[in-house]
């Protein structure tokens, strides 16, 4: 714990801290471009110069200088001021003065820092360097003349994403950042380089020239594109959400966001259900709310009702639907739309118990039936970190490229009962061993075998729980906490032959099995369920309502409403409340506050932000055995996994171009 003096104030800094970190601890702002806490130190922008004694009598790059005992650091001296002005002037030599037409304008590090630390005018009269644009795919727009060579994007691709595709070609003034042969950046986290870019060299292509940052209303929300519950910020103007950016939450998404979660945004304004529809003579016709509720009342299902929750719905919606079902006398609730029917009697057995941050400490990991990069992209970066610290990773299931060394043990689940020596040795010696079960494993009924594995290798020990299940739907854990699970899965609902099926945005269900039921679809997109529905009641997407989400590690998080739902669409709970009136029953709440209070009264964990406690892991069922071959992973197209994503032109293009190799002609600008 070295003691240093920053601008005359003595403080103790953690061992291994850099001078820059010491200055930050002292509350001093150090300007920087290349330095980023989550990336390796490059030290090439020189903006963080400070004066350090003892040392050479010249300014030093604080980001790359370790803080040592007795250092006297000055960030306010004349030398530092001059050094910063000098660096700023050099950086601006080749930087175009195109801030008025640059998308980064208003949220640009270079702009802000040149105002704060620059000289105000340039003494440079020569020609500026110009660099040709580079193609980086449908998500990243490049204006490489603006690049200041900080190499954050290069380091992100290599270190965090693990996909070496961006590099710095040539040298010196002619250095250029490019992907190899200007191929599209095709991995699932590629758009994070847009956030990392301190200037306007890499900007968002779909968002180009859409808005200025100061026009936008910022709303805190939760990503629904996967079950990780990444913390996001919705930037909206008027009635439209224009972009989605990640927020910092070290426990969940650090500060990254998957491309799917980020670019789902333009799906929010397309293919929307903005008025009620009724099926008359086999055809959907537009209707009014009054007609729609009349039609619902006419179904008169009695207690023969089933509710299917979709992947994107919040806990409040599911709770309201549960109350409605309960008031009608039905407990047929299910959220696992594709037919999974694993045992949910103990939620600890279907939870990601290690926590997303905790899995970084694991030293042996067995992944069973999960293509993690598609199912939970930001979990893969955590596993990458674990591997960098020395963890061994084994995978049961078809081959995929994890971006870190991993041993594939074949597709056959039987290997769980007959582990190769290599695996049992690794797990026997591991301090923090973990297993991760994915959707493909749950589908094959491997949950019991996973629990048996956990018992065999003592995965739950002092301060460590290594048993993990990774879900793919943002509504899953919340749904399970609210009882959206039948013993036989959705098969039980089919067998019950309900008169009325309420679909809460359930777009992945095979509705042909409900041919005899009246299907009331409360959803926001004209997707698969809308085609099967008899009554469509237009609802709000995640951005248009307050809601509670529980992520795959059991973390309760709240999202806020950014904009109003389009047209006649209403928030889901109000629709369910009105349906109760139409069906002549009482659900016991008249406002959102009452609804939330009732929900928290029933499931107290939903009222507390943070990890829910599901208790101890259950014992493995006796004789649990996994068998069967994992033929494939549930996600076939990582860009089009839900109704919003399927409606997004950006993600459609990503899917066509990056996954299916279609080429798109570039319009000349």
């Amino acid at each position: 714990m070295p003691k240093v003096k920053v601008d005359g104030v003595e403080l103790e800094v953690p061992a291994g801290a850099t001078v820059l970190q010491a200055c930050e601890l002292a509350g001093k702002e150090i300007p920087r471009f290349c330095y980023h806490e989550r990336l390796s130190i490059a030290g090439n922008c020189r903006m963080c110069l400070v004066e350090v004694k003892p040392g050479p009598p010249k300014p030093q790059a604080s980001c790359a200088l370790p803080a040592t005992e007795g250092q006297e650091i000055r960030t306010d001296s004349e030398m530092v001021k001059k050094a910063r002005e000098g660096v700023m002037e050099f950086l601006l030599i080749n930087h175009p003065l195109d801030c008025p037409i640059c998308d980064q304008g208003g949220e640009c590090d270079l702009q802000d820092q040149s105002v704060a630390y620059g000289r105000g005018a340039s003494r440079y009269h020569e020609n500026k360097r110009a660099v040709t644009e580079k193609y980086m795919g449908p998500l990243i727009k490049t204006t490489m003349t603006r690049c200041i060579h900080c190499t954050r994007c290069v380091r992100f691709s290599e270190e965090v994403a693990g996909v070496d595709e961006i590099g710095a070609l040539y040298r010196g003034e002619t250095m250029q950042i490019s992907t190899y042969l200007e191929k599209a950046a095709a991995h699932e986290l590629s758009a994070n380089v847009i956030d990392l870019c301190p200037v306007g060299a890499l900007t968002s292509r779909p968002y180009a020239f859409e808005a200025r940052p100061w026009e936008l209303k910022k709303t805190l929300s939760i990503d629904v594109s996967d079950a990780l519950g990444s913390n996001i910020r919705l930037d909206s103007r008027g009635r439209e959400v224009l972009r989605i950016l990640p927020r910092v939450n070290d426990d969940v998404n650090e500060e990254w966001l998957s491309d799917r979660g980020r670019y789902m945004v333009d799906g929010l304004t397309r293919r929307r259900l903005d008025k009620p529809w009724l099926r008359r003579d086999g055809k959907l016709v537009a209707a009014t709310w009054a007609e729609a509720f009349e039609a619902v009342a006419k179904i008169n299902p009695g207690s023969s009702v089933a509710v299917i929750a979709g992947d994107l719905v919040d806990c409040e919606t599911m709770f309201a639907a549960k109350k409605l079902g309960g008031a009608l006398g039905s407990t047929l609730l299910e959220g696992r739309q594709t037919g999974l029917a694993y045992d949910t009697s103990n939620l600890a057995a279907v939870n990601f118990n290690s926590t997303l941050a905790g899995i970084e400490d694991a030293d042996a990991v067995l992944i069973v039936g999960s293509m993690i990069r598609d199912e939970a992209p930001l979990l893969n970066t955590r596993l990458r970190k674990a591997v960098k610290k020395g963890a061994k990773v084994f995978v049961v299931g078809p081959q995929w490229d994890p971006t870190y060394p991993a041993t594939f043990l074949g597709d056959d689940l039987a290997v769980l009962g007959n582990l190769p020596a290599e695996v049992s040795d690794a797990f026997g010696a591991a301090q923090k061993p973990a297993i991760i079960l994915g959707g493909a494993a749950l589908g094959k009924g491997a949950l019991g075998a996973g629990l048996a594995f956990a018992e065999q290798f003592n995965l739950v020990r002092e301060g460590w729980n290594g048993f993990n299940v990774i879900h793919m739907a943002s509504s899953r854990m919340g749904g399970l906490m609210l009882g959206y699970a039948q013993k036989g899965g959705i098969g039980d609902l089919v067998a019950a032959k309900p008169k009325m099926v309420i679909s809460l945005g359930a777009d992945e269900v095979d509705f042909t099995k409900f041919a005899d039921s009246m299907i009331v679809h409360i959803g926001h997109h004209g997707d698969k369920a809308a085609h099967a529905a008899d009554v469509i009641l237009p609802a709000a997407a995640f951005s248009e309502k307050d809601g509670t989400y529980v992520n795959t590690e059991g973390r309760v998080q709240y999202a806020e409403k950014a904009v109003f739902a389009p047209g006649d669409a209403r928030e889901d709970w109000t629709i369910l409340r009105a349906m109760a009136d139409a069906l002549g029953v009482s659900v016991g709440f008249d406002s959102f506050e009452q609804l939330r209070a009732a929900m928290v009264a029933e499931v107290p964990a939903l009222g507390v932000e943070g990890l829910a406690d599901y208790g101890a892991l259950p014992a493995a069922p006796s004789g649990a055995k996994a068998e069967g071959v994992i033929a494939g992973y549930p996600i076939k197209d990582r860009y089009l996994t839900n109704a919003i994503a399927r409606s997004s032109p950006t993600l459609q293009r990503c899917s066509a171009e990056l996954l299916h190799g279609e080429s798109f002609a570039e319009a000349a600008e």
């Binding site: 070496d164 595709e165 961006i166 590099g167 710095a168 070609l169 040539y170 040298r171 010196g172 002619t174 992907t179 190899y180 042969l181």
Partner: protein, 222 residues
């Protein structure tokens, strides 16, 4: 520094170089080079292997050799490393040629010491022989580049042609060297001054004269 740009990827390039592989001799050599580094650190060998590949391409084309994209990909695959990292190295160091080049790569130093000692004349001599900066002559014999300091300031002016240096040049020397190379002869390398061997003082000593015969302590005289 002259602008260098990577030769664009094209079907013709792929057709010509797509099947690039080490010759038997170079395969041996490559193994030796990779063997110099610890196991798992094989990508450290990227620089010598790129040089080897460039020489092999040169031998095939009877030029100084260059690195087409498929060859860089071959090296990347050989070392099990991302291609972009190989391209970064190849584009950074100017001794890797990233575009086709002539039989002899004439690199004339134009930095201050050479300039003071007459590199402009050397340049003019090259120009007189039909060489043009940044271009290859029509017969594919010479490529001319102006480069920065090559560290031969004591025997300036100098040029580097392929692996050899020619120092203490005059315009006439330069013309003779180019003629001899074009004629397939190997000119004398190193200094062109008669009686000079390396960079020892040309002619008589101009300073430290007291040290000619025995060691002399100058410190008292400072």
């Amino acid at each position: 520094m002259a602008d260098r740009f990577i030769e664009p990827d094209s079907p013709e390039l792929r057709a010509r170089w797509g099947a690039f592989a080490w010759t038997a001799e170079n395969a041996e050599q490559a193994k030796v080079i990779v063997g110099r580094y610890p196991a798992g650190r094989q990508r450290s060998a990227v620089m010598p292997l790129l040089d080897l590949a460039q020489r092999q391409v040169g031998a095939e084309l009877n030029t100084q050799g260059w690195l087409p994209i498929p060859v860089m990909e071959y090296v990347a695959k050989y070392l099990d490393m991302p291609v972009i990292r190989v391209v970064e190295v190849a584009t950074f160091y100017t001794m890797y040629n990233i575009a086709p080049i002539g039989r002899f790569h004439v690199q004339v130093c134009g930095t201050t010491p050479c300039m003071l000692r007459g590199s402009d004349d050397i340049m003019a001599a090259c120009k007189g022989k039909g060489l043009k900066k940044g271009h290859t002559t029509a017969d594919g014999m010479f490529t001319l580049t102006e480069v920065e300091c090559m560290g031969n300031c004591a025997s300036a002016p100098m040029v580097q042609i392929n692996d050899d240096n020619y120092e203490d040049l005059t315009a006439a020397d330069m013309e003779r060297i180019l003629d001899e190379l074009a004629a397939g002869k190997q000119p004398k390398t190193g200094t062109q001054l008669p009686g000079r061997h390396t960079v020892e003082p040309a002619g008589a000593l101009s300073n430290l004269t007291a040290m000619v015969d025995a060691n002399h302590d100058y410190r008292g005289e400072w």
